[in-house]
Amino acid sequence: MNLEKENKFAKQINETFHSAVVKVQRERRIIVELRSDLIPPFLSFAKEYLSFIHMAHYSCVDWLEENKFELVFMLWSYEEDVMLIVKTKIDREKPEFVTIKHLWPQAETYEREIHEMYGVDFKGNDRLGEFILEDWDDLPPMRRDFDTVKYAGEHYFTRPGREDAQDVRETIARHSGEEIPDFAKKYSIRRDEE
Amino acid sequence: MEINWLKVLGILITPVIAFIVGVTYGGLTRIITARIQNRFGPPVTQNFWDIVKLYSKKTNIQHGVMQHLAPVFAITASITTLYFVPVIRESTVFTNLSFQGDLIFLLYIMVFGSLGMALGVGQSGNPNGAIGVSRGLSQMVGYEIPFVLAIVAIMIQFKTTNLNDLIAMQNNFNHWIIFQSPFAFLAAILAFLGMMGYAPFDVVVAPAEIASGPPSEFGGKYLGLMMTSRSIFTFAKLTLFTDIFLGGAGDFVTLVIKTFALYMIPVLTGIVNPRFRTEQSIRFFWAWPTVFGILAVLIVVW
């Protein structure tokens, strides 16, 4: 496996951002973990100096146990055909971040989605309003502490006869013999057990 | 004044006949379309039942008096056009009022309905309707040039503007204007494609993009009346074209054959064609059809 260009990038990143944890995952995949306040300069650096001109994706992961949100940026370099995955963790209690729409205009839409689904507040983005959900007044639905079954049960009329419906994770777990972590059980209790 | 009861009869039954023929043609069109698309298709009476259903709707809504009157405008234009077109040659019953008008008059009275419709559509407040009207009017400007060229060519060739005179001149098969002035026929029939609004010139109603355009706010009896009007108007237009180019008809069988043959031209074109954008269709009309029209005029002049 030839990781020459990936390593080169890793070296370059390390030289400029000493605190960055760079990991070459495999061919064409570099993962960088960084402090959240260094993200804007880093993205700018990646775009201007490392030729990662395309922001392919921008998402959020809820690390409930660590009480953190992880923002994930995926950048692509057309010159070297390398994907750079930038991760950073921000506080979950009061999730705040700065907008990067000045670097990639399409980031605005991603930020709106993340805002709606996780409640992350992006400073500088003035379009963080209603996006996909209409008139949503509960917890942001993609947070893991949001109980969707409970919500659906409270808000929608449920026709009887669906008592055997169950969480798909449970079914998978049963079939594969995998153990469900404790925290997950909290959110996937079968209706009849409750 | 002595009342000619035969004429009164003609005035009463001509629209009815036109309606029946028009509706049947509509049904046949759907069947033919279906067959070409490898389908079975609805029954012939489908259009008729559609219209009956629309009339028997229990609620009807309108956005104002112009929308209320719009189908009236349309059907008035259709019936008036029909009255001023000689349906059957030398028949007391079916010439109606055709001796009072001429070709240019017919061109204008035909617009009357569209104008009224457009006003009604405007009042409905639906932007799709207005967009449709905008497209329709633009397209009309497109096909009007070849059509007028053709009509002018015919008028100067036969030195008359009266339809009855034109029919009288085409008493023989080889005197038909389609043979005497083929370019005029070409220009006119291409314009006719646009006039009928079948594909590729159906951007006006384009159901998928502007929700059927002009009639998008019409339902119930209004839509029913519009469809009735369209049936009559189709028949009137076909009769007019038959009268101009195919020497009219001496009896109903001939009339049905000739009009149906003419009608198949836009229908068959429509089935196999995609849709032009407005500017494309305008450009289309201003290209070959116009050239044919100019040729027709030039040939006559020389």
Binding site: P141, T158, A165 | G41, W49, T59, P207
Partner: protein, 181 residues
């Protein structure tokens, strides 16, 4: 005009027949089930045989086809569309999702039972139902119409309060014009 009982009956029969043989479906694909409509309409199954035809606007349409799951956001539009249709009008619930939520039983954003919100004349089961099933659903509807039993609109009008209450429960920001007929 004519108050004769038999005459009225004849008129009713003719009208019902016309309604039955001309069903215009408003083209509103709410969910994934809408993908079954093209094969139903085109040459393989050719629904036009039964006078079923697409219609671009609710003003002209007779049948509202709810093709699958219905998120609350869409529900608002569907209600609006339904109310804009002209009486007589029919609703067909299409697919499991309209019956009991289907695979979206626990979704925070989809309704689970359509008939709580709109008067459904015919349900078609399946996830998703095949064109044959769709056509059979339509034929069922036609039978109902012919017998004069497809009176969902009537039901809706009479029980408007109840429907409204249910609708309002789901749609929080209720800003809809009045339903005035």
């Amino acid at each position: 005009m004519i108050n004769d009982k038999y005459a009225n009956k004849i008129v009713d029969i003719i009208q019902n027949f016309a309604r039955k043989s001309s069903l215009w479906v408003v083209a509103y694909g709410t969910g994934c089930g809408a993908i079954e409509i093209p094969p139903t309409m085109t040459s393989r199954y050719d629904a036009e045989r039964f006078g079923i035809r697409g219609s671009a606007t609710p003003r002209q349409a007779d049948v509202l086809l709810i093709t699958g799951y219905l998120s609350t956001k869409t529900l608002k539009r569907v209600i609006r569309t339904y109310e804009q249709m002209q009486d007589p009008k029919y609703v067909i619930g299409f697919g499991s999702c309209t019956i009991n939520g289907g695979m979206y039983w626990d979704s925070y954003n989809t309704i689970k039972a359509l008939d709580q919100y709109l008067p459904v004349d015919v349900f078609i089961n399946g996830c998703m139902p095949r064109p044959e099933a769709v056509i059979s659903g339509f034929i069922k509807l036609q039978e109902l119409i012919k017998e004069g039993k497809a009176n969902g609109a009537q039901k809706y009008k009479e029980n408007l309060e109840w429907y409204r209450e249910n609708q309002r429960k789901v749609i929080k920001n209720w800003k809809m014009p009045d339903y005035n007929w």
